[in-house]
């Protein structure tokens, strides 16, 4: 894999939040990459640091959050070292973001038209209002919205959730970004609408030669859309690799646990779904060893003592687990 095809490469990202209870270690070892024209999925449960990683890359952490260390190279520049002014030029123009709840992501006081044209005008000051409106209408049409002219005149409260998400994606893609970060964009939508939005993202990615960083807790969505998958837990990357490597040849106990928790329609034997015992770790008080050790079915003595390093398994597949670095692999 040459550096040329790497669009975004995040290495050893560390993000903390200072709270009255203490320092929250939201992300402690975040490494993932997005290649040109590909979809990388970051999978993890709530609190795994998947969304925070994306916010950190965009420079959009809340006031009490801080990217302590690490790098995030995008087009030869380290996003983590850029100032607010430079980041503002990148946001929306080179990297865009789509959020979980599209209905609240739109300001209720503005029409769809004024929202979209405002996004365009803020990145191209020379553009006339008329051109901006025209381009917005075209973009809405690309999103598969029928009668885009009338949608331009409407307020968000008169649109459905799926429609709002299409509008948000339109806003995100108005300035032709190279990377789209999608933070659980289908979680708040009905299942049928979810499918439509996923197809839309897939189609846009192909048509526009765009890369996507897809953040989700839904492994089914990942299977449907992603070329590469990074599995996160407790702020650490557990395993990453191509979609095939993760689905067919997962080696990390956590990934395996996640996969076995997916209900399967073709499972005629009616086996009960495997649920992972225990609770997610407390991000203020990280365990000394592997963060997954307390819940791991294959936990050994060294797991509680030392943090595992990521082991390269070849072909871009890697996992952070002592059982693998010892050369063994894990049994169920």
């Amino acid at each position: 894999m040459s550096d040329m095809e790497m669009l975004l490469e995040v290495k050893d990202l560390k993000v903390t939040f200072s709270t009255p209870r203490g320092t929250v270690h939201a992300v402690s070892g975040g490494s993932f990459s997005v290649r040109r024209g590909e979809v990388t999925g970051i999978v993890g449960e709530s609190g795994s640091g998947k969304s925070v990683s994306a916010y950190a890359v965009m420079g959009l952490l809340p006031a009490n959050g801080r990217a302590e260390s690490g790098t995030a190279f995008f087009g030869g520049r380290d996003l983590l070292s850029l100032g607010e002014k430079e980041l503002r030029k990148i946001r929306g123009k080179e990297i865009s973001m789509v959020f979980q709840d599209p209905v609240t992501a739109l300001d209720p006081l503005f029409t769809i038209g004024s929202f979209l044209t405002e996004v365009l005008l803020s990145h191209s000051p020379g553009m006339s209002k008329k051109d901006a409106a025209k381009k917005s209408v075209e973009m809405l049409a690309v999103m598969g919205i029928r009668d885009p002219e009338s949608v331009m005149q409407r307020y968000p409260d008169s649109l459905s959730g799926g429609m709002c998400q299409r509008v948000m994606i339109a806003a995100a893609l108005l300035c032709d970004p190279r990377l789209l970060i999608a933070d659980e964009p289908t979680t708040a939508l009905d299942v049928t609408i979810q499918e439509e939005i996923l197809s839309l993202i897939q189609r846009l990615k192909d048509e526009r030669d765009m890369s996507v960083l897809f953040i989700t807790h839904d492994l089914g969505v990942v299977a449907r859309l992603c070329d590469r998958v990074t599995v996160m837990y407790g702020g650490f990357v557990m395993e990453s690799g191509s979609a095939g490597q993760i689905y067919e040849g997962a080696v990390h106990p956590y990934t395996k646990a996640l996969l076995s928790a997916i209900p399967r329609l073709d499972d005629r034997e009616g086996r009960p779904l495997a649920a992972l015992e225990g609770e997610p770790i407390d991000p203020i008080d990280l365990p000394q060893g592997c963060v997954f050790a307390p819940r791991c079915p294959s936990c050994t003595e060294i797991c509680l003592r030392e943090r595992p390093e990521a082991t390269d398994l070849g072909d871009g597949h890697s996992a952070a687990c002592h059982l693998i670095s010892k050369g063994g692999g894990t049994d169920d």
């Binding site: 503002r88 929306g92 209720p108 409260d157």
Partner: protein, 278 residues
Amino acid sequence: MKGARRTFFSDPVSVLALAVLAAVILFCIVYPFVSPYGYDEVNTAERQQMPSAKHPFGTDYLGRDLLVRMAYGGRLTLSVAFLTGLMAAAAGTVTGIACGYAGGLTDSLGMRVMDAISSVPGLLLAIVFDYLLGMGRGNFLFGIAIAGIPPFARIVRAAVLEIRQSSYVAASRALGAGHFHIIKEHVLHNVMPLAAVQASTSVADALTTCTILGYIGVGISPPRPEWGVLFDMGRKQLRSMPHLSLIPAAAITICIVCLYLLGNGIRDSLSARGGSHE
């Protein structure tokens, strides 16, 4: 916004309040021009008259026509009320947005200053300002305005805290909007309805303070016929000529009630939009 306007105008109470206020203001502006009498025109031949066709509100002990005095006094009282009320509104909105949006130390310091101001009664603040900056030169106006800032700033700040956390601000930032743009577009627009409601309260409070100051002789003073001054002068003849005090009192009361009703009407019409304004 269109829907809110329709709701407002479909409520008879709000419309009535707005109409009465508009009529009072219009009367105060126009009547002094068309009245045959000046507000300080003494006519010893027509002293102490009860209301009549010639003097609809009667005359005082110097034969001055109360109707034109009420109109002229209304100009003073209402302009003080609106001027100081809106000054408080503007300063309160700016303070509230600055504190709410910046957060942290700015917020803590700003709100403690607000606490300090509101620990002094508004009336006392006006008197102190008038005394310190020179009496009789309208410096009490600053006192009234400043006293009106803290409640305004608190309400706006609370709303801004919520707006700042909203998804649409996060989305806007992710699409490349700067802080200035977000404050100008999202924060200001979303705070505006709330500020409009609070502004009517501010003006009503300023009107109360202004007339009390006139009444106790600290604010606008005779011979200028501020409503509080008129009430004070009429009070001395409350038994023989009650209209001299009751008319100014009624005017003050009506204006304050109308301002509050107006504020209620604006609030109701905005909350009637329901979920869309959450």
